[in-house]
Amino acid sequence: MITADRPPVAPEPTVPSTAVAATVRVAAKRVEADGVVSLELEAPDGARLPDWTPGAHVDLVLPDGTTRQYSLCGDRWDAHRYRVGVLREPAGRGGSAYVHDRLAVGDAVGLGGPRNNFPLVPAARYLFVGGGIGITPLLPMIRQAALLGVDWELLYGGRTRASMAFVGELAEHGERVRIVPQDEHGLLDLRGFLGDPDPGTRVYACGPAPMLAALAAATAAWPAHTVRTERFVARELGTPARDTAFEVELARSGRTVTVPPGRSVLAAIAEAGVEVLSSCRQGTCGTCETGVLAGEPDHRDSILDDDERAAGDCLFPCVSRARSDRLVLDL
């Protein structure tokens, strides 16, 4: 999921935030196309990053307090680096502009996830359709299809050739890849590319809303569950992530703990003598699930889907934090 920018809600601080337990550092920043940069991210201590699967995204909590979602488009066989592609949103003034104009190699950003709402399911054949920066989640899917020796093709559209990122690394796949800049070839010929409905084929598409609307029309006759899409969503994420301390009230034991920046909720409550069983400590296994009775969590785990997050009734204190000043936990 690639989220379009929303207006900044807080002034941009000059000092990068270290407010989060899960933090990554920008290891490389490259211009990939007109208006697109890629970031390579690594753990400050060089440790493994949480595992992910193609289609996954991470939440990046930028130093200006905005949280943005970016698809992972690197190589998961390298456990120490993530790569994301960031489009400069013309209307956006917050996250993407910050990434393009201010974020530098060595800067720290907060990390949430990875989570995957767009998983690659097994199939005999894949048809990938990418529009603009929507190519990013498809890159690891393509690598995977190639690795499995499954038949696949990609239709990749963009405004101009110069605006289309990662064209160079797609070139090795030869005729499986069709690059279609709109200023040279017009709109994508989706029907021609997709052909007749085929129950053994899965269509994966990511791109702007008009492209996905055209795709929906072109695949109206395809069987259920054969077409999977992810769109650029402009979404308000509510209160911005905080880089200041917050209070956690433990309802059953009656204790209140202050969680300072840089310390996990799990660690802070353990110091107060309340033991919560945990295991992976990176928001993937689910062992430390804790009920939330009040307050707004800042979810950083890889487990909850959007609906479960919206329910706001539990969190994973090994990685997740608070957006509100106070959280009340069922402990």
């Binding site: 699967t53 998983p119 295991s279």
Partner: protein, 405 residues
Amino acid sequence: MTLTAEPAHDLPTSDVDPFCPEVLEDPLPFHAALREAGPVVHLRRYDVFAFARYEQVRAALVDWQGFQSAAGVGLSNFRHEKPWRPPSLLLEADPPRHDAPRRVLQKILGPRALRKLHEAWLADADRLVDEVLDAQGPEFDAVPHLTEAFPLRVFPDAVGIPQEGREHLLPYGDHAFNAFGPANELVEKGAPRVGELSAWVAAQCAREVLAPEGFGADIWAASDRGDITPEQAPLVVRSLLTAGVDTTVHGLSAVLCAFATHPEQWRRLREEPGLARVAFDEAVRWESPVQTFFRTATRDVPIGGHVIPDGHKILMFLGAANRDPARWGPDADAFDLARDPSGHVGFGMGIHQCVGQHVARLEAEALLTALARRVETIELAGPPRRHLNNTLRAWEALPVRLRPA
């Protein structure tokens, strides 16, 4: 049981067979010797590289890129040998093939999905404890009457398999876990029934055999959505039936044995029943029902100052890592509810970490809570007897005496 510590830079070696009856009966001295010998020890008998320290075991568990599972997580190397059954889509698979089945099962067995079972399982454990105390009196063997009985009551129902033939579950699991070891007498002992048991288990995985609601039906529903293929669905159900019973039984036996031999810890649980889950994980750390798993190096992998050559098997001693004083302190051998057992590797770690761990914890919480409510003291009524398995640390018999509260 001697380990040859060779000169610096050389790999320590051992001729001990980790799967011989003496070690399986009591692996602790061998584990301590392995940890002491170094971060990597070459086991000459099987030409495998052993890790017994927490640091290397954990590192190897999470490094799926360097140490693969698809060549088998037992001694047998699927690169060269034919597996005894179609490989598991979860345990014996690597990304990318591992992704879809894992994702599906993780959701079905996730803590949120289990909430709807919580109340019923706690009530069922209450009933079981009442029934056993009524029928058996204060002294009985806890293995058949509690630690086998409870998982066999709740888990097959939760999966949705029929009543008939459930007695095959434990022998099938026992053989599957033996088969990760060498082809020794434990494997031979199970061999005559493999065909019959495998056929029964395979038959339970069919959509039309499974109840319309349950983990099995959920797996088939995932296949209907295309999240896994219809060919994968029965094998994912098979994983539940293979890995979901024996392991939990032995985990429950471990925690009951721990309490029977640590009365002060039982008093503490009775004072704070909320510690039931911590108690179970502490017992899983302390006893490590799953003792070992193998992996295979996908390239020359440097670890612990040595290099594991491409294609070679490593043997991770989860039980040894879970008692490594370097991680758990000088009292690593103690069963202690005051300890935070978080981070133990009894369920593994990383992408292959036990997908049923939340189910196991729920079963344990239910049984321990029911016992804590009704039982003042629990003690051994006779010497417990080990059940030997190449992978599992198990009890054949656990005679206990309970004093009702």
